[in-house]
């Protein structure tokens, strides 16, 4: 990875972008564009260049650019990445295929509907940004320094697209939501009873088959796979304890 902004020589890259417009480009097809890229050019940069100079009807989601908002999740050469930090010359081929995320309904081109994701995620009650960070004079929740920063989750939907189960079963809560539920459990934001009521069913924490692909593609180091496993351990412990108490 180019570290500190050395642009290097330019190279021409061909992008094959999935196009879909209900009623107009239907069924979907791939359009081919050519762009000049240097070492720091990202897939998002390339799409913006295409939109500005080659095809103004190209649609994609994006906002912030430094991988902080999570809107530009897409599949680049078959792997889920954030377009804003996926560098074109690091995709391993001169022809780069760009497709929308797999696990959400497609609206047009690279734009997917985030509604199902929000429905699964919101109940976990994830607060987006902790009100205080590492400022030692500011109050932080006790013990929170020892956890990975769950706020790192940028709700980008990438983990669901990479998850083999979320792709076939839309009822599955999915990695991001389960990781958020685990966070709510360990930070004490929610009671164990509440969290377990949310995740303890066939479409919840038990649906995961530990492919760990969510952790492999997560652009924000949330490691949802690890959190799902940890959540399951808490739940198993809870169930075993309850079993013996009753017995």
């Amino acid at each position: 990875m180019t570290n500190n902004g050395f642009f290097g020589p330019k190279k021409t890259i061909t992008l094959k972008v999935l196009r879909y417009k209900p009623g107009a480009i239907d069924p979907p097809r791939y359009d081919t564009f050519r762009v000049e890229a240097n070492a720091v050019t990202t897939v998002l940069d390339a799409l913006e260049e295409i939109k500005a100079t080659q095809d103004s009807s190209l649609l994609y989601r994006h906002s912030c650019h430094p991988a902080s908002c999570g809107t530009c999740g897409m599949r680049v050469n078959g792997r889920e990445q954030l377009g804003c930090v996926a560098r074109l010359l690091e995709q391993g081929s001169d022809v780069v295929v760009v497709e929308p995320l797999a696990s959400a309904p497609l609206i047009a081109d690279l734009v997917v509907d985030m509604t199902p994701f929000a429905e699964r995620f919101a109940p976990a009650g994830m607060r987006l940004v902790r009100e205080s960070e590492f400022n030692p004079e500011a109050e932080t929740p006790v013990g929170v320094e020892t956890f990975t920063r769950y706020e790192d989750c940028i709700e980008c939907n990438i983990c669901l697209s990479a998850c083999p189960v979320a792709n076939t079963n839309p009822a599955f809560i999915g990695p991001a939501g389960l990781a958020a539920a685990y966070r709510a459990l360990v930070t004490g934001e929610r009671s164990p009873a509440e969290v377990f009521a949310y995740v303890d069913h066939d479409d919840g924490v038990w649906r995961c088959h530990s492919a760990m692909e969510c952790s492999a593609v997560c652009p924000s180091n949330v490691d949802p796979g690890h959190k799902i496993m940890a959540l399951r351990r808490e739940l198993v412990t809870y169930k075993v304890k309850r079993f013996f108490k009753r017995g």
């Binding site: 109940p123 969290v195 069913h201 479409d203 038990w206």
Partner: protein, 122 residues
């Protein structure tokens, strides 16, 4: 924290794990005894009968059969539940797999007991 809709509690994964661990032990026994203890493996009718004549073996085989069937049906259920099934379809799947499991189990137990009887009679 509200659930998307009321879902039935489930901990079936635990059973899958428990039966899986049991199977590691039982299958090892099954394989070793069947194929490696007897020189050339358990092959002829006589050998099978002699083996099954041991009451302990019958018990082990039946336990093995029950555990492996349970584990297999849970596995199939886990795969089918990865599909977008309605609650009704889920119930149907569970019932159908229970039925298949019961048939396989009954058939296997019948076979073991019948062979045990044959061995005792011989």
């Amino acid at each position: 924290m509200r659930s998307i809709e009321e879902k039935r509690r489930s901990g079936i994964w635990i059973w899958q794990a428990v039966t899986g661990v049991l199977l590691v032990i039982l299958l090892s026994l099954h394989m070793i005894v069947h194929h490696f203890v007897v020189e050339g493996g358990l092959r002829t009718y006589e050998q099978v009968l002699a083996y099954i004549g041991n009451p302990l073996v019958v018990v082990i085989e039946i336990v093995f059969l029950i555990v492996v069937t349970f584990h297999a049906m849970l596995g199939v259920r886990a795969i089918l539940f990865d599909l977008p099934l309605t609650e009704r379809q889920k119930t149907l799947v569970t019932r159908a797999l229970t039925a298949v499991g019961l048939v396989v189990g009954a058939w296997g137990i019948f076979l073991a007991l019948w062979l045990f009887r044959m061995a005792r009679m011989a």
